[in-house]
């Protein structure tokens, strides 16, 4: 069955040189796409996790008593939000990468302790994290003072108010914006191609470069895979939002 499909595509490639679906019959190319997809997923998950952590920490630091701490967080946010992520990636990997130490596993090679994948994760996490800080802060601020006062008047402690009242509500308020940002982050992982991170886009482009007849097939797969990836993500996020929605709360 599978072999006949492969054979069919091989014939198609012979008869229609513009439609060489090489990744459907050449296991080497299939593996490259699989690796690319796996790298994209790893990159996405790592960046989502770190950017959310950065967001929570930043939102917490923004409530700090010290003006210096608040100014530092502000500076971080401004820098990362207001400059193109592509240049951020270049800046991190090339400009800052030269200052990181290297180690030598065999005495000859000099391997930097942070690889290009590492820098991509750092750079993209800081980029998305800057948006997340603001999203979480806005969520916390959106909880009306009266709700806090009501909890206060019931004798709840400060921590209880935060954990049982403010955070659950703030999280729901933040969720749509957070989801938007995370979807955007997954889309932005494609830009890691600029520092040669072997994610999906990179693999597809290099297959296309190796086999020029596979051009249309690669473009098609590129479009379909990313639309599907983002579509599944958006659907999942929307479902999550709906599951957490409190009837009548926040339009």
């Amino acid at each position: 069955m599978i072999e006949s499909v492969q054979a069919w595509f091989r014939t198609l490639a012979d008869t229609h040189p513009k439609w060489n679906f090489i990744y459907l019959y050449d296991p080497v190319q299939t593996a490259r796409i699989g690796e690319g997809l796996w790298m994209t997923l790893q990159l996405s998950v790592a960046c989502v996790v770190f950017s959310v952590l950065i967001g929570v920490t930043g939102a917490w630091l923004q409530g700090s008593q010290h003006a210096a701490v608040r100014a530092f967080v502000q500076g971080y946010i401004q820098f990362f939000r207001n400059t193109p992520p592509l240049i951020q990636l270049l800046f991190f990997y090339f400009a800052l990468g030269q200052f990181t130490p290297t180690y030598s596993p065999d005495g000859w090679l000099e391997v930097p302790i942070i690889s290009n994948v590492g820098w991509a994760i750092i750079s993209l996490s800081f980029f998305a994290g800057a948006f997340n800080v603001e999203i979480f802060r806005a969520g916390i601020e959106a909880i009306p003072e009266s709700t806090r006062e009501a909890a206060d008047s019931l004798g709840m402690s400060r921590l209880q108010i935060y954990v049982y009242v403010v955070l659950p509500l703030a999280f729901r308020v933040s969720l749509p914006a957070l989801n938007n940002n995370l979807v955007n982050l997954v889309k932005t992982t494609t830009q890691a191609i600029v520092i040669a991170v072997p994610e999906l886009l990179y693999q597809l482009v290099s297959i296309y470069n190796d086999y020029s007849t596979a051009q249309n097939a690669c473009m098609l797969l590129m479009f379909v895979v990313y639309i599907t990836l983002v579509g599944v993500l958006v659907l999942g996020m929307n479902r999550w939002e709906r599951a957490l929605r409190i009837p009548g709360y926040g339009g």
Binding site: F79, I87, L90, Q98, A177, I193, I227
Partner: protein, 299 residues
């Protein structure tokens, strides 16, 4: 219970909108009021820009002075290349952003109006196009357009070469168009259905209602999100460097090569690229927020 206006009303929106004149509408996600990015950029005090520049410039000095080529030399090199980078590099980013915005706006308005068309087929097609281009990464769209579109067209016997940057403009216009389509749809739907009903009961045709009643009311509401998308687009223009279009990032790399690729060059050159984008987008963001605030009061 309200009448259904094909393509325009979402259930029960009218009741809410009437009770809560501006707030509920503006806060709904995806509405034109959704200016997170510009609000962000615009809420920065101007002195922070100076601070960022200072930080970027100061960092490497600490790690400098390794070889003969010092950080001082690197900044000197940047100073020499600066006019070239701005007039040939960043100017190209600005040109690309203008052209893309023009095409994207034209396409977005058409697509957005299709999304509120009375014809279900037109709505479905417009929705599918909007979602497809809105949800794929910009870089993917750019690659697809750059690699699949012809690099020359033959008109009769003359061969017209299509320069890379025009294809880049087209590739960037697709996501801009899709996002502006959503802005138009959101703005049209933010006009309370009561307006449609009042106009209907005065025997206005659908076209008259749209052009005479609805669009004049939501035009102002579309301006801030439109500018917001302009800023986002401008920040995306360095992507075209990946495809060899000669803009700021491409030229910066070429300039560093011409200066023998000393690693000390990286911080000043890429730092400068970051700063010039910040400096360009920042006033736009301030202006966007000022406009949004002014329009919000008038509503």
């Amino acid at each position: 219970m309200r009448a259904r206006i094909p393509g325009v009303d979402a259930a029960a929106r009218s009741d809410l909108a009437v009770l809560l004149p501006s707030r509920a509408r503006d806060r709904a996600p995806g509405r034109p009021g959704d200016l997170a990015f510009s609000r962000w950029l615009g809420s920065t005090a101007p002195w922070r820009l100076v601070l960022v520049v200072a930080l970027v410039a100061a960092w490497p000095f600490a790690a400098a002075a390794q070889s003969g080529f010092t950080m001082g030399h690197a900044f000197e090199a940047l100073w020499r290349w600066l006019p070239f980078l701005v007039t040939k590099g960043f100017a190209m980013n600005v040109v690309i952003s203008f052209l893309t915005m023009a095409i994207g706006t034209a396409g977005g308005v058409v697509l957005g109006l299709w999304q509120v068309s009375p014809s279900a087929a037109a709505r479905r097609v417009a929705w599918a196009l909007t979602q497809a281009f809105r949800n794929s990464p910009w870089l993917v769209l750019l690659f697809i357009v750059m690699l699949t579109f012809p690099f020359q067209v033959e008109v009769g016997s003359t061969v017209i070469f299509i320069p890379d940057w025009t294809k880049a403009v087209f590739g960037l216009s697709l996501p801009v168009m899709a996002n502006l389509s959503e802005v138009v749809r959101g703005a049209v739907q933010s006009v309370p259905t009561g307006q449609w009903e009042a106009a209907e009961s005065l025997a206005f045709s659908r076209r008259q209602i749209l052009w005479r009643i609805v669009l004049p009311q939501c035009f102002k509401r579309m301006v801030p999100p439109w500018m917001n998308w302009y800023a986002i687009l401008t920040m995306a223009t360095p992507l075209v460097s990946l495809l060899g279009v000669e803009e700021l990032v491409t030229l910066s790399r070429q300039a560093m090569e011409a200066e023998d690729n000393h690693p000390e060059l990286l911080v000043p050159f890429f730092g400068f690229a970051l700063v010039i984008f910040f400096a360009y987008c920042y006033p736009i963001a301030r202006w966007t927020i000022a406009l949004e605030r002014r329009f919000a009061v008038k509503l």
